[in-house]
């Protein structure tokens, strides 16, 4: 384990994780809204927001999958030291962290069981930027629980989220992270391309 693995955790875990949970809760409860997550400095390429989510939600009882470039020695050590989560394959993960491309195919992740739809994976998807829409990204329309009327959020694609919604009440749930920003996309959200 590298000395760097010991750094970058919460200084005041009870209070920092309380603030982080509230931001994550607001993000998932109001799909399309952006919230700030700060207080962790995980090794690159993991974002601050993804690191904060891991510190807040993961522990020895939550198998974690590190996808693609996030499956580095530095990040493995950091996750192991700070939360003690078992590192597992995509199929066994309760949480997964990586870029959308690295998470493919997303059909590998747990979507819950018909009688226990909560036993499903939460994907923390690292994004280059996070915005309702941008110069190259015109976010798809979001509607459903948590959204008054409609919202917009630039997503890495549309089809996968349309398929995921069709599985409801099964499905995976997503946090999108970039820098210290987070947005949520629960399985209940209807996603429509422009």
């Amino acid at each position: 384990m590298t000395p760097e693995a010991l750094l970058g955790g919460f200084i005041d875990a009870p209070v920092q994780s309380a603030h982080a949970f509230r931001a994550g809760l607001e993000a998932l409860a109001r799909p399309g809204t952006l919230h700030s997550l700060t207080g962790a400095t995980p090794p690159a390429p993991m974002s601050v927001a993804a690191g904060v989510l891991i510190l807040t939600l993961c522990d020895g009882t939550t198998p974690v999958h590190l996808a693609g470039h996030h499956d580095s020695d530095a990040i493995r050590d950091w996750v192991t030291f700070h939360v003690g989560a078992p590192l597992v394959t995509a199929e066994k993960a309760m949480f997964a962290i990586g870029t959308w491309a690295a998470m493919q195919p997303v059909g590998r992740f747990a979507i819950g069981q018909p009688d226990y739809p909560d036993r499903s994976a939460t994907l923390i998807v690292e994004m280059p930027t996070l915005a309702p829409s941008g110069p190259h990204l015109s976010g798809p329309r979001l509607s459903g629980p948590g959204i008054k009327g409609e919202a917009r959020l630039a997503l890495p694609e549309t089809a996968a989220f349309v398929r995921n919604r069709a599985l409801f009440p099964l499905g995976f749930d997503c946090f999108f992270t970039a820098g210290s920003l987070v947005a949520g996309l629960p399985r209940s959200t209807n996603v429509e391309a422009n």
Binding site: A13, P14, V15, S17, A18, H19, F21, R22, G24, L25, E26, L28, A29, R30, T56, L57, C58, D59, T61, T62, P63, E91, K92, M94, R108, F109, A110, I111, G112, Q113, P114, D115, Y116, P117, D118, R119, S120, A121, T122, G144, P145, G146, I147, K148, F168, P169, L170, G171, D173, P186, R187, S188
Partner: protein
């Protein structure tokens, strides 16, 4: 199609059928009356607040300030577990997520489920309001408020508009909630189908298959017997066209406030170990029939203190001759109206009271 997760041992254990549950709940098929449950819960209130506070001191004799407890009482691993359950509840509105409920330094009837959800949500920046049947000043509400002042150092309020988190037993505030607020319900019986089917494995199957016909039959039997749907508390709702959900024993007058509410609504059942949720602006419909539509009824009176025509009223016996008055169950709402100059049949202007 489905890829099951390796379930947590703790969560798995609470998902097992519990054949003693229906007995403990005091909820029997032939007596599907929430009043039973309410009276059972009220037994817990026999224990005075001083006793609970003393129990806290006894556990930590030399202590007393918030710094002696972990923030918001619960340990970090427990809060993480509850937080994960809350997020899955938000993702699947109306679905009951199992969680491993912890012992709290208060009896179950005091709302330990709500207390654990509140503990998992609180930050030091929050302003907490606690109500019991609409009132901020009952033993139960005062005790929970003190508990979080002590363990989380949060600000408290009785004003609905100032609160960021409101923990409630059996009411939704009259004052409209706003974006950014969280309403935490204390839930005694989270399973709306429990009085039809005592076995957890069976009710879980019924939710899976959306087998809600029996619930409609029960409501229709009400109509056959009473000419109307007699259920006045705990009135079942359907969430986003999918899960039938128990709104906790709120009066059905409050049911319309569940739907399209700008606040996050979280439900915690401690003894039954379930958490469920309604994200903001979730579509919630009270079950009814075309020929007997749902009516959010209340006593046909105005508040005798503040003259409100549209608030839920408690009937209060005022002397042993049987004189009675109707007053808002929401004490903050009623006081705010009187402060604004509204005066009911038996109300006294606040300025006179103060003099």
């Amino acid at each position: 199609m489905t890829a099951p997760l390796p379930a947590l041992a703790a969560v798995d254990s609470v998902a097992q059928p519990d054949h003693g549950r229906d007995e403990r709940a005091g909820f029997h098929p032939e007596q599907p009356d929430v009043q039973h449950d309410r009276s059972r819960e009220d037994h817990a209130k026999d224990q005075p607040v001083e006793k609970v506070v003393m129990a806290l001191h006894a556990a930590h004799p030399e202590k007393g300030s918030m710094t002696d407890y972990n923030f918001a009482y619960l340990d970090e691993q427990t809060k993480r577990m509850i937080r994960r359950a809350i997020l899955k509840g938000i993702a699947i509105p109306g679905y009951q997520v199992p969680f491993a409920s912890r012992e709290m330094p208060m009896p179950y009837g005091w709302g330990t489920g709500g207390v654990q959800v509140t503990a998992a949500c609180l930050t030091p920046d929050d302003t907490l309001k606690v109500i019991d049947q609409g009132a901020d000043d009952t033993t139960n509400a005062v005790s929970i408020r003190k508990f979080f002042q002590r363990t989380a150092g949060v600000a408290v309020t009785e004003a609905t508009t100032e609160a960021t988190i409101i923990q409630t037993r059996h009411r939704i505030p009259e004052t409209a909630l706003t974006k950014g607020q969280i309403l935490v319900y204390q839930v005694p019986i989270p399973e709306p189908l429990r009085f039809l089917e005592p076995r957890e494995t069976e009710t879980r199957k019924m939710h899976e298959l959306e087998e809600y016909g029996l619930m409609h039959v029960k409501l229709y039997e009400d109509i056959a017997r009473h000419g109307t749907i007699a259920t006045s508390y705990d009135y079942p709702v359907k969430v986003e066209g999918r899960y039938v959900m128990d709104p906790s024993p709120i009066p059905k007058f409050d049911n319309p406030k569940l739907s399209d509410n700008p606040a996050i609504q979280l439900f915690g059942a401690g003894r039954e170990q379930r958490i469920y949720a309604l994200p903001p602006h979730t579509h919630v419909v009270s079950l009814d029939f075309d020929d007997h539509p749902f009516v959010a009824s209340k006593a046909a009176h105005d508040c005798d203190l503040c003259a409100a025509q549209d608030s839920y009223l408690d009937e209060v016996i005022t002397d042993d001759q049987g004189s009675r008055m109707f007053v808002c169950s929401d004490t903050d709402f009623c006081r705010s109206r009187r402060e604004a100059g509204h005066l009911g049949r038996l109300g006294t202007p606040l300025s006179e009271v103060e003099q």
